[in-house]
Assembly symmetry: C2
Homo-oligomer: 232 residues x 2
DNA sequence: AAAAAAGTGTAATAATTATGACGATAGGAA
DNA sequence: TTCCTATCGTCATAATTATTACACTTTTTT
């Protein structure tokens, strides 16, 4: 499952993917060769269903997902999972708490499909940040953005009623469009909201009955955007 | 309310406080004079009840609270507020999303008492980070820790029942001790959990009836720690 | 194509929480 | 002290959501 450090010989070569990742994409062309020289990493492969990151475990490395997609989840008191996020390659993983004093992962990351990750030790990340200013800025910007994302998530969960959560979610998902396709199953949306699936569907159908929206499986039409906005 | 940049002459001199703030405390003694020279800032004073940061507004500066204490809140659909955090001087404010692409504050920050803040423009923060490695590391570490904090908060809110939230909260607040004093009023704890106060008290009294805890106003004794742990 | 798995919609019942109102009590201010 | 205010504990009622179970459809796998 794991390859050695300094193994730049496998195929496909990871550097192709690494520089597509938002953390590294800003490294200027003329510095990339040096960057790859300075980079210390190992490669790990995972099966569908594998846990890349386990909640509560210590992480001393930066993970960059270069193939596949994962979801991050948080377990609640009954062992049910709330979905936190959905990450597709190429993107970093577990970057936010790498430099925290308690660098245990608050979430678990589970592979939806076979995945590959580049694993970079913390000290090397630190070294790269000092040497490559663009990398430092990108890293900063990335965790700042994660912070915004988490705040948004917190806001979603903190809305008291399913109705309000749904309004919030639909307004964001629609991205202004009148009709669109849901990116997740209702089961998954329910987990995103941290509510039960039947309750979610019930509220959704109520909204449909009130002609605020129209729903057919994953297809949604927003009929009364103002009504949705009024719910927040 | 606002003083000019380069105003190093007011009293009390802010540098005393600034270097007590976790962001700057790691700057070595011998670099502090230079650091103060490089620092560009203004001073702002606030009354009790003032809003230092408003949800949704753009922030292009780092705020360091050098006097007073504030709470950060998030409004829900009915205009009620969920408490997010409680920050006392000297500590940074709004540092987490300063470098985010959408650097609007996800929360509002409200003064509980008269407050003073040092306001440092983003570019200057960036400049200082490049020049003072210790500052950069502290900044990174700080937002990493904020990230952990937000995750914890998310976990708290995502627990489905008040019972579970309370168990989680008590275990954390007790810090291992058998008896302790609550740091917040029950009203405030309810807002922290994003639930109603009567519901919180009801659950608390149920736990007391089951002899899991004993409560008298702010004094709490944990009688059955294992039972609390089982709720998570 | 058949079988399996995942997703969808519904309903009755139980459990949990919100709402709004009330009196009691503690601690600070005048 | 006495008043005032914040906090506390309680309650009945209403609203919301969870639970569990079932029938059905679509998609994926074999």
């Amino acid at each position: 499952m794991e390859r050695q450090y300094f193994d730049h010989s496998h195929s496909p070569h990871p550097s192709g993917m690494i520089f597509q990742c938002p953390l590294c994409s800003s490294v200027p062309e003329d510095q990339r060769e040096g960057f790859m020289q300075d980079l210390r990493f190992s490669i790990k492969n995972y099966q569908k269903g594998d846990m890349i990151v386990t909640r509560g475990a210590l992480y001393e490395s930066l993970y960059i997902l270069i193939r596949g997609e994962i979801v991050t989840e948080m377990a609640d008191e009954k062992g049910d999972f709330m979905k936190v996020d959905h990450i597709t390659a190429p993107n970093p993983l577990a970057a936010g708490f790498l430099f925290a004093s308690n660098n245990r992962s608050p979430v678990s990351a589970i592979c939806k499909v076979p995945c590959t990750a580049v694993v970079i030790p913390k000290e090397n990340v630190y070294f790269l940040m000092r040497k490559y200013e663009s990398f430092m800025l990108a890293f900063l910007s990335y965790i700042s953005n994660r912070m915004s994302f988490l705040s948004e998530k917190l806001r979603l969960v903190s809305l008291r009623t399913i109705r309000a959560k749904l309004a919030y979610y639909l307004l964001k998902e629609s991205a202004g469009a009148q009709s669109f396709r849901l990116g997740s199953s209702k089961e998954e949306i329910a987990r995103l909201f941290n509510v039960s699936r039947p309750a979610l569907i019930k509220v959704m159908m109520e909204m449909a009955a009130e002609e605020i929206i129209a729903v057919a499986r994953r297809d949604v039409v927003i009929r009364d955007r103002a009504a949705l906005q009024k719910m927040l």
